[in-house]
């Protein structure tokens, strides 16, 4: 029996198509993936992401404990700030990629991937050195309002001055009278917000946001658009682009590994890998032949297997076939050519700079 978010009935009433994702029965689309994708790029879309988990570190040892479990440098994360990073095993393999929200000097909420709720909580608890760690995943619903009109829509419903909430910053505030953690974070490459609230208020919050957003053309959006949006900006998807067997260095996440911050779980292995050299790297590519790359398709070099595609789609914004793939370092430089095997045919591909899509500067 798949799990359901507090908004399940709302999705059914809205005529959403539901699919099972990471053990959850989630809306994959409402009007259609392309229409929802476009709504987010040009106006705003509203996502139910209540399947995401929340693990909270509290108390005098919270920061020290999480700093030892997180690859990014939490000492540089001020109260009211969010920080992206990885949680690694001793091998350097990625347990999960997460966003840490520092709510107080001694209180950090870690937002984890839905599929990893239990795994992450157990890993964090077992390696926290006795610090207080709580799995609050069932205590939170989460809605994401994403797109260039997101701030204008949200501002109608809250007294919080959104202009004072910068990217990767957050504040506690009422939205439509509902207490929320209002974070300027997201997974689409657009400006936008993630709102954490109590599960029993989620339906009211959802309806208020859609009502306030109606004049702006805000539409509900599902996991299908969420996936094509995140891929256009080359955000990694745990379980597709990386897993316990991949390190942040391989996955192109070296920018969230702070070797100089002191000891953390996985550091030694990552130092060894950095010094010994990588055997594979995750790169962005576009197909120059017809076809759409998909997760699991082989990467070929001179007709022989040399890597694997981890994500791929026809970019709705760019009208190009784009993807992420693990390739040997020799093929990882921008402009490198390889092939992707699609149903027995070799389709030519070229490594390109990521993100594939970037919103115009000045759009906040």
């Amino acid at each position: 029996m798949p799990l359901r978010t507090p908004l399940y009935d709302v999705h059914v009433r809205a005529g959403a198509r539901l699919v099972e994702f990471a053990g959850w029965e989630m809306p994959v689309q409402y009007a259609g993936i392309l229409a929802e994708h476009e709504a987010v790029r040009t106006r705003a879309g509203l996502f139910d992401v209540s399947h995401m988990g929340e693990v909270v570190f509290r108390g005098p040892r919270a920061m020290e404990a999480l700093q030892r479990l997180f690859t990014n440098d939490l000492s540089r994360c001020a109260v009211g700030q969010a920080m992206y990073g990885c949680i690694c095993r001793e091998t350097g393999g990625i347990v999960d990629d997460v966003v840490a929200y520092r709510r107080a000097a001694d209180d950090v909420l870690v937002c984890v991937n839905a599929a990893n709720r239990t795994k992450d909580f157990e890993w964090l608890r077992d390696h926290a050195g006795g610090a207080e760690v709580a799995n609050e995943s069932d205590a939170w619903a989460q809605l994401a309002l994403q797109g260039p009109r997101a701030a204008a829509v949200l501002q109608k419903l809250t007294a919080l001055r959104l202009g004072s909430v910068g990217t990767y910053r957050f504040a506690s505030a009422e939205v439509a009278g509902i207490p929320c953690l209002v974070a300027r974070t997201g997974y689409t490459g657009e400006d936008g917000f993630e709102l954490f609230c109590a599960p029993d208020r989620a339906t009211r919050l959802w309806e208020a946001l859609l009502e306030a957003g109606a004049p702006e053309g805000v539409a509900p959006a599902g996991l299908g658009a969420r996936d094509s949006l995140r891929l256009e900006v080359a955000y990694r998807l745990y379980g597709s682009d990386m897993d316990d067997g991949a390190t942040p260095l391989e996955a192109g996440l070296a920018w969230v590994v702070k070797f100089d911050k002191g000891e953390f779980v996985g550091r030694e292995a990552l130092v060894r890998q950095r010094e010994g050299g990588l055997t594979r790297k995750l790169v962005g590519f576009t197909l120059t032949d017809p076809g759409i790359p998909r997760h699991g398709y082989p990467v070929l070099r001179d007709g022989k297997p040399a890597g694997v595609v981890t994500s791929g789609t026809k970019s709705p914004t760019l009208h190009l076939s784009i993807g992420l793939a693990y390739v040997p370092p020799a093929l990882a430089a921008e402009g490198s050519a390889f092939a992707v095997e699609i149903r027995g045919r070799a389709a030519a591909a070229r490594v390109v700079k990521t993100p594939f899509y970037q919103r115009k500067k000045g759009d906040t």
Binding site: G32, P290, K314
Partner: protein, 129 residues
Amino acid sequence: MNVPDDLKYTREHEWCRVEGSRALVGITDHAQDQLGDIVYLELPDVGDAVRKGEAFGVVESTKAVSDIFAPVTGKVVEVNDPLSESPETINEDPYEEGWLIRVEISDPAELGDLLDAAGYRKFVEDEAE
């Protein structure tokens, strides 16, 4: 769900319009709806042979890759080439502008294995349960 009465159907959700010795082939309204936005298509060339029940092409939506199966055995005499530039036509008009290929039928007896509209409607309803 739109299921025109004058067509024959496969259990893999293709339709077939018999035109004398030829058959026009496409995917059903139900199939396009289930697939979602269609963004890519692979079709055979004119002159290729297709075999009843075997895949002759591929249709891809944003999320899924799906084979297209031949309702009858025969030779491809025409391909709806403009579709490769505008595959969304299949979503918009699966039974007219969104046709895929025209086939010269090898064995008209095979047509007897296809479902009529009522049979296909029932098949889809049963599949949903």
